[in-house]
Symmetry: C2
Subunit: 428 residues, 2 copies
């Protein structure tokens, strides 16, 4: 058999269930890649070869299991695991052992998944970066906050990895690292046991190498068969939106959107230009207000009792969050709620709207994870989002395009994403 890491998640689970591939051999293939690359990439906060292999062997002994039977997965270290330390990217929690698995981890394990390790997160999924480098160029950021998850998938160290997004923490690192990143509709994946950053925004999702892998994984976790079995429809209609912050799109991102449009047109799809309504132009700022207000409260204990162990950047942001007035916060929430009610007319007949995933290629340097500007408004709205690799920029680094869908209609978004993914592959 060829290297099992080349299989899709769905196919690998099938092979393992059919006993043609052992969970241990599957895990070992990823572990080999980890051991070859981790010193350079730094994607893992916690990785223990023997523990990962033992977990895989337990699956093999069980002999059968759920739809993720034997699938190796990576878990962002913002998410609790009962058998691995969970540090939330902060020295405050270094070596901390949660009393339980987070819901999403328990559900994945109950479906047969094998957690092979914890991936690096920025400090509490906010802005202060961890150690991870971009596998495509180690001098560049992998993006954040789900830095390790994106880098692990990009480097072939895991087939699928949990991420979380509060501003742009799945979409941006996935785009920077050249993988697929999927932020489901707000609330689709249960959040218990994930360290809260901003309660009205925090969303669990994943990174993987294909639309199908992400849909299959999240579909299994959420018991949504239509998501799990999603397939490409004949001719969905796309919108293309330059978004209110188009000025911040670099040439690499502009070119990626052009390539996506050309590829879709070549594949016979229709692509309409759509505009964000005037009254929704402040949503990125609203998201920023909401996030800063809520994170100062979510991290109240850390801000008050462990300030000396926060990065100066985060300490300052949390203090600032406490100065945002409740009137300003309420207005931002109200603006988002109002915009959410008007999304139908924005989408019109489009199955998905194409927007930038990030300003451009991953910036140089590991001191910042880049800007979430192109994700803020969509996260605030709670709509499902997915980023697809769409070529490379002038510096040779990956660039993504983001597709956004209707709240709660993740299936339609993923169908459209499959069409776009195929069109981009054919055009490449």
């Amino acid at each position: 058999m060829a290297n099992p890491t080349s299989l899709s998640v769905r196919a690998a689970a099938h092979e393992i269930a059919s006993r043609r591939l052992s969970a241990e051999a599957y895990a070992a293939a990823w572990i080999e890649s980890i051991e070859a690359q981790e010193a350079a990439v730094g994607a893992w906060q916690y990785f223990d070869r023997e523990q990962a292999l033992a977990a895989a062997r337990r699956r093999d002994r069980e002999g059968s299991g759920g739809p993720l039977y034997g699938i190796s997965i990576a878990v962002k270290d913002l998410i609790d695991t009962v058998d691995m330390p969970t540090g939330y990217g902060s020295p405050i929690y270094q070596g901390s052992r949660p009393a339980a698995d987070a819901s999403c981890v328990a559900l994945a394990r109950a479906s047969g998944a094998v957690v092979i390790g914890k991936t690096v997160t920025t400090e509490f999924a906010a802005f202060f970066p961890g150690k991870t480098a971009n596998p495509h160029n180690l001098a560049h950021t992998p993006g954040g906050s789900s830095s390790g998850s994106a880098a692990a998938v990009a480097a072939g160290m895991a087939p699928v990895a949990f991420g979380t997004q509060t501003a742009g923490s799945i979409i941006r690192p996935a785009a920077y690292c050249g993988v697929v990143g999927y932020k489901p509709s707000f609330g689709l994946v249960a959040r218990a046991g994930v360290k809260a950053l901003a309660d009205s925004l925090d969303t669990i999702g994943c990174m993987a190498r294909s639309v199908d892998d992400t849909a299959f994984f999240i579909g299994v976790l959420t018991d949504r068969r239509d998501l799990r079995e999603v397939s490409a429809p004949l001719a969905p209609r796309f919108g293309l939106c330059r978004t209110p912050m188009w000025d911040e799109a670099e040439p690499a991102t502009r070119a990626a959107l052009d390539r996506a449009r050309a590829a879709l047109l070549a594949a016979g799809a229709r692509v309409d230009d759509v505009a964000v309504p005037e009254e929704q132009r402040g949503l990125a700022e609203a998201q920023d207000r909401i996030m800063r207000f809520e994170m100062a409260r979510s991290l109240a204990w850390e801000r008050v009792e462990r300030a000396d162990l926060l990065s100066p950047m985060l300490a300052q942001i949390l203090d600032y969050g406490m100065t945002i007035g409740t009137g300003e916060y309420d207005a931002a929430r109200a603006a988002v709620a109002k915009a959410r009610q008007r999304l139908d007319s924005f989408f019109g007949e489009c199955a998905a709207i194409i927007v930038p995933s990030a300003p451009g290629e991953a910036p140089e340097g590991l001191n910042s994870t880049g800007s979430p500007i192109f994700s803020r408004m969509w996260t605030a709205l709670g709509v499902p989002c997915i980023t697809l690799p769409a070529g490379r920029g002038d510096r040779g680094l990956p660039v993504g395009i983001q597709l956004v869908g209707r709240i709660g209609d993740d299936v339609r978004l993923m169908e459209a994403a499959m069409v776009a993914e195929r069109a981009l592959a054919e055009a490449a």
Copy 2:
């Protein structure tokens, strides 16, 4: 000075800040009551006299603090405390020590509060009761899930106690125990560090002896000065709604609503009969679907890995929750979202709508905490709710009336509640 337990929270904080009363003496007064009654009532899951007094003495040494400076508070044992074991009402977490305070505890402490202990919760805030009895008649349930918080306030063992509500877990026990229970608008109080039961429903609130105590406490925690300084307006208009489940209202509850109407009319207020629109009649059932679906996921790890330590009742409920289809869940969420958008016409010009708090007096026996039926739809809608003591039933136990307000307009609800509280006191 008279017994400091007779002071309002606001007045006690003022006395302590003015050094006319020490935080230690204030705590000691509550502790005296705990030691006299706890053996019978069983409100506390964790209480250590010396630890509580030491925390109060630290406040006295600090010499000044926030608006809750020196105020003794009780914390439902569903809520994490870094210095006290947190058991979530389950043997699975017996003696468990969280790594941090929950947001609401950290914010209360940062405002000067003294946590004197942890109060009994039902198992994971679901239906299996703890040890607590109703202080008004020890053979009767205190209600749940915030059983210990309601009983502690009712028995004069704490001036204010944190509770949480997913169905009727603040309103019902407060009504059964004859105290004020306030469930703020969904999302008003930050939830990080509270064990999740149903993410789209879980709401933090409190019990206390007066509307002012609850508004002051939650107003301080949320930095909402208008809530903290709320006062009774001249003539708010009330609605009175028999709700779609009026058949389940016992004579004691019907009489309480009649008394409330008469008291408000005597006080010069206007009380209009209002009806729940036809399309909102299924919201209690929708809440039940949503809760059962979400709790099976929130407690996924416990369900799969610690089933032997769950009560048979909860184990069954969680297994059942996994059988609810996503279509049924999505339909319930959609029904709630639709109803939420139509609330304006339900409220009309009313500042608050009066509805039952519970079917009647607290049922006899400690094996069940009674029915949350009269809270389900309001919790689903996310509207703020408050229950006020409104006399007693035939068995001599307290009966409450519930006031519900507009989402996000807790101030207007609390203003109306102050008017109702005064009218009921004048009529008594």
